[in-house]
């Protein structure tokens, strides 16, 4: 009898095991291990970014936009891995003509506070951003509607509750891309004040997450929005934890105190983590660039031959390998490789590697005596602690050619940020981070005769081409124009592109989905990230 009894228990146990093994997984973030339901998953995300304001009208920095991108939405968005705007709060959008853009809005969408999303909220949000003209805000991105502080009521029309028409001040093919930026994100007109910024702990949007807790400088807790109109997040909750130093963030990801570390760790930290146990380093395309600027009012940079010789001599590969341990790649155009319309114009014209012989010839043809005395400015911390090494490398490569004698000068950003744009530096370091995912942001900003750079570069052909691409809604035509602009820019060389950064995230074992969000849009989409047990 006893033997029979144990047999029964054994059979039941085996059946139970088989049933458990065959049981379907709840949909989680994807991954090879057992996937807890999203309801059980909390992702801890560590970053060294900081928050300026969680109000779209009060911020123009990546740290703030990162949270806004996960809690709020615009009419359009850049999907993961994509590079063209797609509908978000809009059902569809299109140009009626180059200055008129109409969007049909999604129905039955509600804000986190339960108020309905309508066309009135779109008008309110944009009007508010422009009128508030916050010193830290990005109202300047909405310049196609109206200048900051000078709202034009005719610029945005709520045709009905679910239709909005934008009447642009001038043809602007980049307008759909502008609508993907937090500057154009939608806030509830019933909740947000028209004449002041919303407190950070009271942000309300329509996005996949709502804010559960805000502790300034410490952490932000986001909870999945059960009423989100789009794809449900792969987790229940995200806790964004803020670190003052990259070394602390590195320790935290190593020790498992955070699940994901994104922005910003040094190349040394990243190299160290690549061999570490329990973590995986993910890389993806970036759009952050560094470049060297010539103020054309200063000698000898005012000489075209000098600029071209520098372009022929600078050793981008050495910078990428020796200084940045391969976390950046050489850049041969001011338009990053990840953007439609990019060409390697500088590589085609000057070669990918230093060519001192060609540079010697260039200077000789122009009758310029060598070595050319060149004063180059850089700033120690704003563009990362490796700027010193980067510019030492630039100095080395220029002087090794025998054609240049380089004096390096530096000053902290407080002085540098004003001096660089007020005709005080002849040649200097700058960096750029995209506002929106269109090559226009990289050409108009730098090559227009009204460029913020103030380097006195004026080329009417370029200005005409810039206006032409902005007025064209034909993407193929625009890309051709971008190619022409890059070609001319390489010939004139007011600016030399140096490198383009990759995007790096470090994840703990068991975390999934993060690689899908590493794209040139620079949005870390928390809703894609899951975690196995």
């Amino acid at each position: 009898m006893r033997k029979t009894w144990w047999r029964h228990v054994g059979v039941v146990a085996v059946l139970a095991l088989v049933a458990a093994a065959c049981g379907g997984d709840e949909e989680g973030g994807g991954g090879d291990g057992e996937q807890p339901a999203p309801a059980d998953v909390t992702i801890i995300h560590g970053t060294t970014d900081s928050i300026v304001s969680l109000d779209p009208a009060g911020s123009y920095d990546l740290g703030s936009w990162q949270i806004i991108n996960n809690v709020m939405e615009g009419l359009l968005t850049i999907p993961a891995g994509g590079n063209q705007p797609e509908p978000a709060l809009a059902e569809s959008c299109d140009f009626d003509d180059p200055q008129t853009y109409t969007c049909t809005l999604k129905q039955d969408v509600t804000f986190h506070d339960g108020s309905p999303f309508t066309a009135e909220d779109v008008v309110f949000s944009l009007e508010r951003n422009i009128n508030l003209d916050d010193p830290n805000g990005a109202c300047s991105l909405l310049g196609s509607l109206a200048p900051c502080a000078e709202w034009d009521a005719a610029s945005v029309e709520a045709v009905d509750d679910s239709t909005v028409t934008f009447h642009l001040a001038a043809p602007d093919a980049t307008w759909p891309f502008i609508l993907t930026t937090p500057a154009a994100y939608i806030v509830p007109s019933e909740t947000y004040p028209a004449d002041a910024l919303q407190p950070d702990d009271q942000m309300v949007g329509t996005g996949p997450y709502s804010m559960a807790e805000f502790r300034a400088g410490e952490q932000i807790v986001l909870e999945a929005n059960p009423d989100f109109h789009g794809e449900a997040p792969a987790n229940e909750r995200v806790i964004v934890t803020y670190f003052d130093r990259s070394s602390a963030l590195k320790l935290a990801i190593e020790q498992g105190e955070v699940d994901v570390a994104w922005r910003t760790m040094t190349p040394t930290d990243i190299s160290d983590l690549e061999g570490a146990e329990g973590v995986e380093v993910l890389t993806g395309p970036g759009a952050e660039i560094r470049y060297l600027v010539f103020n054309l009012d200063f000698e000898p940079g005012s000489e075209l031959a000098v600029r071209q010789a520098v372009a022929q001599t600078i050793d981008r590969q050495a910078i990428a390998e020796n200084v940045y341990n391969g976390t950046v790649e050489p850049l041969y155009s001011m338009v990053p490789t990840t953007y439609a319309g990019h060409t390697d114009a500088f590589a085609e014209m000057y070669g990918e590697t230093p060519d001192p012989e060609a540079a010697t010839q260039t200077l000789a043809d122009a009758g310029i005596e060598t070595p050319v005395e060149l004063e180059i400015w850089w700033t120690p911390t704003h563009y990362g602690d490796l700027s010193a090494d980067e510019y030492a490398e630039i100095k080395r490569s220029l002087e090794d050619s025998g054609l240049f004698s380089v004096t390096l000068e530096s000053t902290e950003w407080d002085q540098y940020s004003e001096a660089a744009f007020t005709d005080q530096y002849p040649v200097y370091q700058l960096g750029w981070f995209p506002d929106y995912l269109d090559a226009d942001n990289y050409v108009t900003s730098f090559y227009s005769s009204e460029s913020f750079l103030n380097v006195h570069y004026e080329n009417k052909e370029v200005d005409d081409l810039l206006a032409q691409q902005k007025a064209s809604t034909d993407q193929a035509e625009r890309e051709q124009i971008f190619e022409q602009i890059q070609q001319i820019a390489a010939e004139d060389v007011p600016i030399i592109p140096v490198w383009q950064g990759s995007q790096v995230a470090v994840i703990r074992d068991g975390v999934s989905g993060a690689e899908e969000t590493l794209d040139a849009a620079y949005i870390f989409r928390y809703w894609l990230v899951g975690k196995s047990a």
Binding site: I44, Y60, E218, Q255, F452
Partner: protein, 342 residues
């Protein structure tokens, strides 16, 4: 009796009145330092993205280019009303920073002070009692090294050994993110809040996060106490009343612990108060090292962003704390010691 009381009252009133110009000098120095240094929050954040014309326009709209004397008068007027202003970069009131982040610093410095006293008193006592022995030498050496070693160096070392190599303790933050979120916050002091909530798991988590930074900072302050206690013990051991106790046939242990030790501790109370300044400055570095979200961390962040309103407010608050504590210590000293008079 009336003459000593009058002298004490005179001393107290004079000390309080002297605190006023001290505070005014502090406010003025902080204001001038921040104004003299180049840069402003808008240039710091948006320089290199917007044209200089646009940046100048925004600076003008924000009032950064108003005459310095007008800004100074406004600043003093607000300070008199305990309105330390609103930060420029993230629109937080300085008062809220003090309340939220100040609680984190208070928690850190309180436990650091406990550790400092525990370590300083015990090691100093042993050193003084067993003068010129290996125990004395070890104690003195320990005190010097603890005091001289930069707090961030000790912090990094502790993180490496106890965090990375041994994996015993977490390396950053006040608590795990989830605990930090779920703990019911009534006082912003996590230890107190977890006790009030009877949330013992959270208490353990909070204490685990507190151990390293508090010990590191406490050791630095403790180094000061070690030397002071040792010197005081040596002096009191030479005192007449100690000889008298010995001559009455009391055991040596009783002579040391019941007589000499108690008197050796009296000046420590004064020194403890004076170490507040050292605690606050040490807390800045400790908080940076351990990602501790105190006012020290916030001060550095606002400095880096050239937010002079925030920096003024935080430094003024910290300075006021030091002034008030020094004043209280002086008053206590005057009350205890009749020789302390003007």
């Amino acid at each position: 009796m009336s003459r000593p009381t009058t002298a004490l009252r005179t001393y107290l009133i004079t000390r309080v009145l002297l605190a006023v110009p001290m505070v005014l000098i502090l406010l003025t120095v902080v204001f001038l330092l921040m104004r003299v240094a180049p840069g402003d929050p808008i240039s710091a954040a948006l320089g290199g993205r917007l044209s200089q014309e646009e940046i100048d326009r925004r600076r003008h709209e924000a009032g950064f280019d108003r005459p310095v004397i007008i800004q100074y008068a406004e600043y003093l007027g607000n300070a008199a009303r305990f309105d330390f202003g609103t930060t420029l970069i993230d629109n937080r009131t300085v008062t809220s920073i003090i309340a939220q982040n100040g609680a984190a610093t208070l928690e850190l410095t309180f436990f650091a002070l406990l550790i400092a006293v525990a370590v300083g008193v015990s090691v100093g006592l042993v050193s003084g009692r067993f003068r010129d022995t290996p125990a004395d030498l070890a104690g003195r050496l320990f005190g010097i090294v603890a005091y001289a070693a930069p707090v961030f160096f000790l912090g990094f070392l502790a993180q490496l050994v106890f965090g990375k190599w041994l994996g015993w303790l977490p390396t950053s933050g006040r608590a795990s993110p989830i605990v930090s979120y779920e703990l019911e916050s009534r006082t912003n002091l996590f230890v107190v809040d977890s006790i009030i909530s009877a949330d013992w798991d959270s208490l353990i988590d909070v204490l685990e996060h507190l151990v390293m930074p508090a010990t590191v900072l406490g050791l630095v302050i403790g180094g000061v106490f070690i030397r002071l206690i040792r010197v005081n013990v040596l002096q009191t051991m030479k005192g007449d009343y100690v000889e008298a106790a010995r001559s009455r046939g009391l055991p040596e242990r009783s002579v040391v612990w019941k007589h000499a030790f108690k008197n050796a501790l009296v000046p420590v109370i004064t020194v403890m108060g004076l170490q507040v300044a050292l605690l606050v400055s040490g807390a800045v570095l400790t908080e940076q090292t351990f990602n501790w979200p105190g006012i020290g961390s916030e001060l550095v962040r606002y400095l880096n962003n050239r937010d002079y309103i925030a920096v003024q407010g935080i430094i003024t608050f910290a300075g006021l704390v030091v002034v008030v504590v020094s004043l209280l210590i002086d008053i206590l000293n005057a009350w205890v010691d009749p020789r302390v008079r003007y």
